[in-house]
């Protein structure tokens, strides 16, 4: 319901709704009020033009065309709705038949629908008009049945989409019958698009009716709808153009109203929230309450990446949402830094902000954001793109979508060098082959000529890394590079990243939800929670010397090959913080066994110690009195 209301919030949606309502009200009211006026015969004014008495003139019996057009609204709308109802009903039966009948019979129905769809609708309508006889009933059946295949096809597609979902499989496994699954699981989940398309279909039916009546195949005398009035009016168009224009305009307006309503509803419901979101106000940056601790007291020349107080903000329906809230870290040459955290912790957005890939609606603010000493905060200039293109390599999670499927791998790699280094086609392709060899792809000359779909997932991910190596990157940012890969392939990709790092002294930022992967590959780990770094520690200390209760819980929650089988796994009660609703105080307090009143009121600053380790906690290193929370208190916390 809430979502349907959002339709009214767009100007187009509002206009279309008002127009549609006006047409419907007119359909109900007009025949009651004006039937007398519409049927009154004025023998003095036969076939007259527009006048003060008859706004749109009169017909061959001297009846007022303006009133007749108003009164005809009811019949026109009724017929259109009846035809749409038939189309929807028949379409639903056809569209769900293959779901109900099972594979073999379903295929026959599908074939039938496909053949019916291929026929032009108007031809079908004419055919049915002949079969059912000339008149309103025949026309309704004709237009209804002609519209059914399209609707059937749509239903079928939507049903197929829902059918593939696991909850339908789950219901099947539970022994729920097909009809019941259809009624309880499938239809409710496809109702929205169906209603929208039925609305658009009603607009179309209205127009088809007018067309059919205009051809003399629809409504017959003495009844009249807009098409019939148009048919009558067209004979005298040279005498009184208004006689044809008035019903024509009515058809146009009503059809337009229904179509626009359907389309604006589709747009609003499909996209989610449309419009209504205010642009981000230029907020003055609040200076951090305490001086933010820096990575360590190292020299600036050694830094590859220097990020201070990074914030990423997106506009939200109820105000700006800030998924990254002041992140400060530095990466030195050749260093491997891991960022771990749960989904929604802001770890991926931090990486995207560094590579300037945050979606356009988002805003990136930082006190400092430097790659190799160059400020990345400025406008998107050619020089900056070149710097990012050659010094920074980005590896994404899903190797299936990071290449253009229609172009050869070699060409896609070569493009980087042609664009940024000005190499010619031949030289660039040569370098691409060389880089593919560097990422251990066998037979690189042949592979370079292949398309992405000919590569396996692991090879594609290696090719992606190879693309990053076309320049001479000082930093590789890898965002969950192995999550989509199998374990044995994961190891190859991690080994490759390690080798690249060693060979060329390249710095690596590895983002992962997997503590074990990060601990294996990285020197240092940043633990993020609710858009902030809560701990920064050497990877070797992750399981043994972590001081933040979240880090310790995260490390203990994942079973490894040495986990004690007699103990339940440590769990973190509650759920991660929603970036739209970050609590005051320490964001982790609600899930923390150490939380005190102070934690709930004041957000702890990220403090640095002598060894360069950082932690944001009021109780660093303390252990909870009652051991780590187990399932009993978990239920309690989640129930609250």
């Amino acid at each position: 319901m809430q979502r349907w209301k959002s339709v009214l919030r767009t100007p187009l949606g509002l206009t279309a709704t008002i127009l549609t309502l006006a047409v419907l009200v007119l359909a109900v009211v007009a025949p009651m009020l004006w039937t007398g006026d519409a049927d009154a015969v004025d023998t003095d004014n036969i076939l007259s033009g527009p006048s003060a008495e008859h706004w749109a003139g009169t017909d061959n019996l001297g009846r007022d065309i303006f009133f007749r057009t108003l009164v005809a609204t009811r019949l026109s709308v009724e017929l259109a709705l009846a035809a749409t109802a038939i189309a929807v009903a028949v379409g639903l039966v056809l569209g769900t038949a293959s779901f109900l009948l099972g594979r073999r019979s379903g295929r026959l129905v599908t074939a039938g629908i496909n053949i019916a769809v291929a026929f032009p609708g108007i031809l079908l309508a004419l055919f049915f008009a002949v079969v059912f006889g000339v008149g309103a009933t025949g026309a309704v059946l004709a237009i209804g049945i002609a519209g059914a295949p399209m609707f059937g096809r749509l239903t079928q597609t939507l049903v197929a989409g829902v059918e593939a979902r696991d909850y339908v499989a789950a219901a099947r496994v539970a022994g729920v019958g097909r009809v019941r699954i259809l009624l309880r699981h499938v239809l409710p989940n496809i109702a929205e698009p169906l209603v929208i398309n039925a609305t658009i279909g009603a607009g179309g039916a209205l127009l088809s009716f007018a067309g059919l009546s205009f051809l003399g195949l629809g409504v017959q005398q003495p009844s009249y709808d807009w098409g019939r009035l148009l048919f009558d009016g067209i004979t005298s168009i040279y005498v009184n153009p208004a006689a044809a224009l008035a019903p024509g305009a009515a058809v146009l307006l009503a059809g337009l109203a229904l179509n626009l309503l359907g389309e604006s509803a589709a747009k609003a419901l499909g996209v989610g929230v449309v419009g209504g979101i205010p642009a981000l106000p230029a907020v003055a940056r609040v200076a951090p309450a305490e001086p933010v601790a820096e990575g360590a007291g190292h020299e600036g020349s050694d830094l590859v990446l220097d990020v201070r107080d990074l914030e990423v903000t997106f506009p939200g329906p109820t105000g700006p949402i800030r998924p990254v809230r002041g992140v400060t870290f530095a990466v030195r040459r050749g260093e491997a830094v891991g960022i771990v955290g749960e989904s929604g912790s802001g770890k991926s957005l931090t990486a995207l902000a560094v590579s300037r890939l945050v979606a356009e609606t988002g805003r990136v603010d930082a006190e400092r954001l430097e790659l190799l000493g160059h400020d990345l905060r400025g406008p998107d200039t050619r020089a900056q793109r070149r710097l990012l293109g050659t010094s920074l390599a980005m590896v994404f999670q899903d190797p299936m979508t990071s290449f253009n499927p229609t172009r050869r791998i070699g060409g896609q790699l070569a493009e980087v060098s042609r664009h940024h280094h000005g190499l010619d086609r031949r030289a660039a392709l040569g370098r691409a082959v060389d880089r593919l060899r560097a990422v251990r792809i066998s037979d690189p000359e042949r592979r370079a000529r292949q398309y992405p779909h000919e590569f396996s997932g692991g090879m594609r991910q290696r090719a992606m890394i190879g693309m990053g190596l076309m320049g001479s990157p000082a930093l590789v940012v890898a965002d969950e590079p192995t999550t989509a890969l199998d374990v044995t392939v994961q190891q190859q990709v991690l080994d490759l990243l390690a080798a690249i790092r060693e060979q060329d002294d390249v710095a690596l930022v590895l983002i992962s939800h997997d503590v074990a992967v990060v601990a294996q590959v990285c020197d240092r780990v940043l633990v993020m929670y609710a858009g902030r770094i809560v701990e920064d520690l050497p990877a070797a200390d992750l399981h043994t010397a972590a001081r933040h209760p979240y880090t310790r819980a995260l490390a203990a929650a994942v079973p490894d090959m040495e986990t004690d089988l007699d103990q339940p796994l440590a769990v973190i009660p509650g759920r991660p913080v929603d970036p739209a609703d970050v609590p005051v105080g320490c964001a982790y307090a609600a899930r923390c066994p150490l939380a005190t009143a102070r934690c709930r009121e004041q957000d702890p600053p990220l403090e640095i110690d002598a060894a360069g380790r950082r932690v944001a906690c009021w109780h660093p290193g303390e252990s909870p009195e009652s051991g780590i929370d187990e399932l009993g208190s978990l239920a309690e916390v989640e129930a609250s």
């Binding site: 099947r172 994961q490 490894d560 796994l569």
Partner: protein, 245 residues
């Protein structure tokens, strides 16, 4: 509880053989882990067991009888990987669970059963009217487990039930699986690509590779002294193993 037996099961999709002559037994009251990579056929085997994939050869027997794939009584239940897709977004969690309860009980009995099941998986029974959207991934997966248990199954098939969950939540679901197994004596076929997870919940493990089972046996034996090269490769690939071994 009864045992689930796969006997020389073959599943084909067109010309590709997804499962190739697999024989595997899930003994009564035991958790058997099934590990392998994507495309190894482990999920297909699970779907074949509950009748969601066509079996071309061999037999799947539950307590010596073929698994019923028609009618309301389904003694073999399945929990799916993605709790965001396995619960109908328009149905309250209580309704979803109630749907799987075998027919023949009154409304009040069903409600009591839903409450009992929610409690069993450590969710507040008062939340049975909540829609899945209001729940976290871990809570949803617990609802999915409750739904599977609602069918009074003799064996449960769990297909990668933790791999779509955040690490902080994974642990709670694994604890629950172990707890249910200990309390109810549940037999379970537990499918996962994660050896550490399987090691934690399963007493037996079977390793699947290219549609075949290449090795099976007690978990501690298979993980300590793997016989097959592929098992060794899998073990070597567990992150963090290299530095220690």
């Amino acid at each position: 509880m009864t045992s689930l037996r796969f006997d020389d099961v073959t599943v084909r999709y067109g010309t590709t053989t997804a499962v190739d002559g697999v024989s595997l037994t899930v003994p009564s009251g035991q958790v058997v882990g099934l590990v392998g990579e994507s495309g190894s056929g482990k999920s297909t085997l699970a779907r074949a067991a509950v009748g969601l994939a066509p079996v071309h050869g061999g037999s799947i027997l539950l307590g010596g009888e073929p698994v019923p794939t028609r009618g309301r009584h389904r003694p073999l239940q399945m929990v799916f990987q993605d709790p965001y897709s396995s619960l109908d977004p328009r149905m309250s969690i209580g309704e979803s669970i109630a749907e799987a309860i075998p027919p023949g009980s009154s409304r009040a009995e069903r409600r009591a059963e839903v409450e009992r099941l929610l409690e069993l998986v450590h969710l507040d029974p008062g939340r049975s009217a909540a829609l899945p959207a209001r729940l976290s991934g871990g809570q949803r997966q617990r609802v999915a487990l409750a739904r599977a248990l609602a069918g009074r199954p003799e064996v449960v098939v769990a297909d990668e039930i933790t791999s779509a969950l955040d690490v902080s939540i994974q642990g709670a679901v694994l604890n629950l699986v172990r707890e249910l197994q200990a309390e109810l004596g549940l037999s379970m076929l537990f499918i996962s690509h994660n050896l550490a997870v399987v090691r934690y919940v399963a007493s037996h493990v079977a390793v699947m590779h290219q549609g075949r089972i290449v090795e099976q046996g007690p978990t501690d034996r298979v993980l300590a002294q793997p016989d097959h090269d592929y098992t060794r490769a899998l073990l070597a690939a567990v992150p963090g193993r290299r530095s220690t071994s």
